[in-house]
Amino acid sequence: MKMTMTQKIFAQACGKSEVEAGEFILANLDIVLGNDITTPVAQDAFERMEAVTVFDKDKVVIVPDHFTPNRDIRAAMQCQKVRNFALDQEITNYFEVGEVGIEHALLPEKGLVSAGQVIIGADSHTCTYGALGAFATGVGSTDMAAGMAMGKTWFRVPEAIRVELTGKMPKWVSGKDVILTLIGELGVDGATYQSLEFVGDGIKNLTMDDRFTIANMAIEAGAKNGIFPVDEQTLAYLKESGAKEPKIFEADSDAEYVREVKIDLATLSPTVAFPHLPENTKRIEDVEEIVIDQVVIGSCTNGRLDDLRIAAEVFKGRKVKKGVRVLIFPATQKIYRQAMHAGYFDVFLDAGAVISPPTCGPCLGGHMGVLAKGERAVATTNRNFVGRMGHVESEVYLASPAVAAESAIQGIIAAPGTWTKEERS
């Protein structure tokens, strides 16, 4: 047998002892996810499929997080449609405003994801759950509908790129810098149709939150999924969240990979992706003076407790530069409460930042902080496409919470600590 970790999960999910890259399979699904943008479209397809009830009301998860709290009347109608469906179908895991969080932070936190599962979500960042050793990928609404109707969907078994992480990150470098560096190397389509399989002794030095950030952006290299091996940290996380019994898969020692990439974590610098593609990366020491208007800290990429802790460490006792707007949006209610109790909110408020309820809001230019013409933002989100956060002539620079916070204070893109070309070479 020469299977990658992803291929092993697939073999099990379609009841075979072996699968190979390029093969088409029909796999059983453990979770089918949708949000307030993609679920209405899936509902229509579900109806056209003449499906009546979902295959398993515990395995369909619906998270209205994008335009909530309802942005306007049209969003309200859309959310109403989703709510009616969820109540009608008695969906166990439907989360109303008040308990909702950004889906990709919420599902792991609620224990809905476990290692070895096969998960599809009508949202491209569903790949986040690979951090827990699950196969998870983004699909469209028709796929979501088919998944809800049958509990199965089709996949092409992917090839994989092996990403070996070694060493330990310097202070102020985090998961975001790892994944931006990797995307810079692979390009935004460098892993299209393929898995990114992370291995190596550097993984033990990454927190779960680092791993979520890294897996979250696998799609930004075009990958089908990104996946981490299951270690003690993963098991501890799964236990704490109350997840189902993990099924642990490991790649065979002779598994075949289309490409290998090595990253020594100790050599990384805080990294920034320039507009308008996540692959346009620069190490902080190569970034010229760029004046900014807004800073956004949050999202499914970097809205977890670790991220807020790092931002608070940078903001502590300092003030946001006059003229810069800082929006902090914790990804879930639980994270919100934890950050509040840890005293981070006082730090943010003293610095002059605003704290938003959990929502996707500004990340997709939806609401709660849209950019005007010509404005520049440093965001801890995952996409910097044209018009992503507002006006088509606005610009988004992707970075870690540490860089975002320091930039907010200085008013230009900057990282805490000293990063000079000489020191890093």
């Binding site: 479209v41 491209s124 028709t142 049958m150």
Partner: protein
């Protein structure tokens, strides 16, 4: 006259249909905003039967099925690109928007050229320049799905089988 509208590499779903318009899933309505952030004149100039021709990684970014829906809603019948992003590829097949990966054809087509595509015969013709290309067939599994009329019909058939 089926006109080609040519665009570059990495055309992402945020420019195909910006997120601010995602509060509807009506293909016609979405079609009215298609490509707006990249080429505001597109929706004025496009006619039913026209084609989008693009470079590498067309449809990258979000999983929104609104992207192929908007393209279809604008009247476009086929997208030809050098390559497609994974989720977009899947969505297009699932919603019945024909997409063709053919780098050679993309190189030989300019905006405004008159193009015809015969999906069954697998031929792309540039009527303006007088050249044609063959396109690679889909893998059998996908061809079956397309023949069945997409994923919706596939599920319907499966459900019927279960009920019998």
């Amino acid at each position: 006259m089926n006109q080609a509208f040519c665009y570059g590499d990495h055309i992402d779903t945020d420019v195909i249909i910006p997120a601010r318009f995602l509060d509807t899933s009506d293909a016609k309505v979405l079609g009215g905003y298609c490509m707006m952030d990249l080429d505001p004149s597109f929706v004025e100039k496009v006619n039913p039967g026209d084609m989008i021709v693009a470079g590498e990684n067309f449809g990258c970014g979000s999983s929104r099925e609104h992207a192929p829906l908007a393209i279809r809603g604008a009247g476009v019948t086929v997208v030809i690109a050098k390559s497609f992003a994974r989720i977009f590829f899947r969505n297009a097949i699932n919603v019945g928007l024909p997409i063709v990966a053919c780098p050679e054809a993309v190189e030989g087509i300019e905006s405004g050229d008159s193009i015809s595509v015969d999906l069954t015969a697998g031929i792309i013709k540039n009527e303006t320049k007088g050249c044609e290309w063959e396109m690679a067939p889909y893998p059998p599994f996908l061809q079956d799905m397309i023949d069945m009329g997409g994923l919706e019909n596939y599920v319907k058939q499966q459900k019927e089988k279960q009920n019998v």
